[in-house]
Amino acid sequence: MVEKCNIVIAGVGGQGVLLAAEILGNGALIEGYDVRVSEIHGMAQRGGSVVCDVRIGERVYAPTTPDGMADIMLGLEPIETLRYLRFTSSETLIVMNIKPVKPVSVLMGMVKDLSLENIIQIINRYYAKAILIDAMDIAMKAGNPVVQNVVMLGVLASTNRLPISVNAIKESLKQLVSPKYLELNIRAFELGLKAGETYSLFRR
């Protein structure tokens, strides 16, 4: 296993950033690792920008990833992925949902929008490895747009860059998701997994 695995998860309040982070963190605990998951509550929950760290290793101290040290950037939303790129280096694996959630400032026409094409250009310019996925599309196939976060976990799990097995993530899901929605979440996770696998094949 790698000495340490730093995952930065970025998104918008309400997208399930914290739950995605907790599922990974709990998965790491199941695998017997030390882990830290940083959460920031309060103001950020109100449709604001949310970032969360999952740090996995034999021994982890700090909850937050140092600048440039993210092994993985899991972006649940394109603009928010860009907002936290300072935690990445060109070696970071980018796993990004290409379904944007427009900020209110953009909707009101007060601030210039940043197009998805622009965002993808920036990602492709700097990063050797990036998986860009329409998680909304897959989540709808799974049955509900709210499981975009779990779709993205599936995509991430397909990359073999996590020190956690697919089974550990599923076990973690079972522990953290209400039984009523477990089937939906497992379906989303598996569709994500599959999408990730085909994506990788396609790219190479």
Partner: protein, 632 residues
């Protein structure tokens, strides 16, 4: 409460678990809650505040099963008084609050240090370096110094859990309140915690009077101050040898002294730079273990102090090692800043500079983040779709036409400062909207509005309101009653009548309290009714004395959740394209996240719309209608 019931259920199982040795991922706050249960806590009090809220919230959830009495007190000083009363009867008590909450509670705490306690009493203060969700980033370690009380500072969830248990024992042994200081990054980090045994403690005690000890008239207070000083001397002796302070040996080249969250960053920075260093981690930061520190410092030529905010450890270390001739490097040498959070990055960079070491790989990136930042649209936190506060703010703007000065307060409604509402000219602390409005109304000509939430009203606005009546200040107080302490996680408050034990108690009616304060012009409105609210505001402007408008409407998040639970349908609004003249009034005046634009057209996102109907009332062309299609 609008919370994730399944998550609560999962966590409550962990909080009540009897499986010693089991490992779970817990927030620092949840670990504190578990620790309190292990310590046999019987009374828990709080006023919610980020980053402390989950401690008491999770204890509220399990209170009945754990045999705990839990209450949401009206404010922090009441919380401390209630817990102190319980402790004086010999029962173990916990009181939790955010850092600024301790300002409110400090009056009780500082004299409670004199009387001392009986049952273990621990006060958790959750500080917020970086102001993630606070109006300031004060360093509450100074309260330990001011009150002269022991203070623990854990670095992670496991320590938080273990040390709380010990803090109760120490409190009981020395009959002193114990401060337990966390910061956001300890409170809000999930980390593994190993479950320990749950200890038994007294369910009920009795109050044994002791006038000389408990009645702090000057004569007795003087003697009790001496008693406090003596107790703290004994605890200092204990702290010199305590296992809460530990040295991580790494040779005699460089020394570091640190505590709390800063310890974590220090460990990683030293590792990243590949330097050899010994680290003294201080767990009980007051009374300061001077001898331990002296013995550590004298081993080195230079000692680095790594701590967030104020140079508390630095100054204390300097004072105790002044004769040793060792260079102490901290805030005074500009090694680290006195503001904001620290991080592994900040410490690594600062150390690399001082030690002349190269930065680790990846620290200097080939990516131009600054360029990317410039083109990124901002995404500040905003009021939720259908938020009744948005409707109230719109009514204020419309009826007062920007003539007024808005003194606002602590709560979701502070988000009203964002575009397009821009309501909020002054925000200081809980309840300050009323007091500051009084002063402003006396000192200039424009009408003055004080805007305050329901929970905040009960917490701190009542003396201000009485002051407005007594001294006849012509202010308009608008109480935004959304039936919850929404910002911190929808905790109940006196206006809801729901208690920390989950029981429906007596509701305290805001307008009755207002009337009792002597206010003669009171109106209760539904902010979703725009005309009613505007008319009430116009009458208040005309009124020649202090007036109050209670704008009552349940938080839209809570209301939506309740409707879903009851199987009721949420019927969204829609824009009739034929009638819409693309004036964008709804978009530009309300700023509701449910109203979106796409290629010059406006549409309502039916996933976000809560059906509040405010946009329908403000559309000049009657182009917004309730949707006939039932989507939920």
């Amino acid at each position: 409460m609008a919370t994730n019931w399944w998550k609560n259920l999962v966590r409550s199982k962990v909080l009540l678990s009897r499986n010693v040795g089991e490992r779970h991922l817990l927030l620092g706050n949840e670990a504190i809650a578990r620790g309190a249960i292990e310590a046999g806590v019987k009374v828990v009090t709080t006023y919610p505040g980020t980053p402390s809220s989950e401690i008491a919230d999770s204890l509220s959830y399990v209170a009945k099963d754990a045999g705990i009495y839990m209450e949401y007190s009206t404010n922090e000083i009441v919380a401390v008084e209630v817990a102190a009363g319980a402790s004086l009867c010999g029962v173990r008590a916990l009181s939790c609050m955010k850092h600024v909450g301790l300002n409110v509670a400090s009056d009780a705490l500082i004299t409670l240090a004199y009387t001392g306690v009986r049952g273990g009493f621990v006060l958790v203060t959750a500080d917020d370096p970086g102001c993630w969700s606070s109006q300031n980033e004060q360093d509450n370690r100074y309260y330990a110094l001011l009150a002269n009380l022991p203070c623990f500072e854990p670095s992670n969830s496991q320590e938080a859990k273990d040390w709380i248990v010990y803090a109760f024992d120490l409190s009981e042994k020395f009959e002193l309140p114990i401060l337990f200081r966390t910061t956001t990054r300890v409170s809000h980090t999930l980390a593994p915690v190993e479950i320990g045994p749950i200890h038994k403690s007294l369910d009920h005690g009795k109050f044994i009077p002791d006038v000389k000890r408990f009645v702090m008239v000057p004569d007795f207070a003087r003697a009790r101050h001496v008693a406090l000083i003596n107790k703290m001397e004994s605890i200092k002796e204990l702290n010199e040898k305590s296992s809460f302070n530990k040295i991580i040996e790494g040779g005699e080249k460089l020394g570091f002294i640190t505590s709390g969250a800063s310890f974590n960053y220090t460990m990683e920075a030293i590792d990243l730079l590949g330097i050899e260093a010994s680290i003294l981690k201080i767990g009980m930061i007051h009374p300061f273990p001077e001898q331990l520190v002296k013995d550590f410092v004298r081993r080195f030529e230079e000692v680095f102090i790594v701590e967030e905010l104020e140079p508390y450890i630095e100054n204390t270390v300097k004072a105790s090692t002044i004769n040793l001739g060792v260079k102490i490097i901290g805030k005074s040498n500009n090694f680290l800043p006195k503001n904001g959070e620290l991080s592994t990055s900040i410490i690594t960079k600062a150390l690399a500079k001082v030690l002349g070491k190269p930065l680790p790989k990846n620290f200097i990136s080939d990516i131009s983040f600054e360029e990317i930042k410039k083109i990124l649209p901002p995404r500040p936190p905003i009021l939720c779709p259908g938020c009744p506060h948005r409707a109230s703010f719109y009514a204020i703007k419309r009826s007062m036409k920007g003539m007024q000065i808005n003194c606002t307060d602590i709560g979701c409604y502070a988000l009203g400062i964002q575009e397009p509402l821009k309501i909020g000219d002054l925000l200081i602390c809980m309840g300050a909207s009323v007091g500051t409005a009084c002063g402003i109304s006396k000192s200039q000509e424009r009408p003055v509005v004080s805007i305050i939430g329901d929970s905040t009203f009960f917490h701190a606005a009542i003396p201000g309101l009485i002051n407005a009546v007594y001294n006849n200040h012509r202010i308009i107080t608008i109480i935004l009653d959304n039936c919850a302490t929404a910002m911190t996680g929808f905790q109940p408050h006196p206006g809801t009548g729901l208690t920390g034990m989950g029981k429906q108690g007596k509701r305290v009616i805001i307008e009755e309290v207002v009337k009792g304060c002597g206010i003669e012009h009171i109106e209760v409105v539904d902010p979703y009714n725009v005309k009613q609210t505007c008319d009430a505001l116009l009458r208040a402007i005309e009124y020649p004395g202090p007036s109050v408008i209670v704008a009552r409407r349940k938080c839209s998040l809570l209301a939506t959740q309740e409707k879903r639970r009851q199987g009721l349908k949420i019927i969204p609004y829609k824009i009739i394209d034929d009638k819409c003249k693309k004036c964008f009034a709804c978009v530009k005046v309300l700023g509701c996240p449910a109203i979106n634009t796409l290629n010059g057209t406006i549409f309502i996102d039916f996933n976000l719309c809560t059906g509040c109907g405010v946009c329908e009332q403000i559309c000049p062309y009657k182009a917004i209608e309730i949707s006939r299609d039932e989507l939920w």
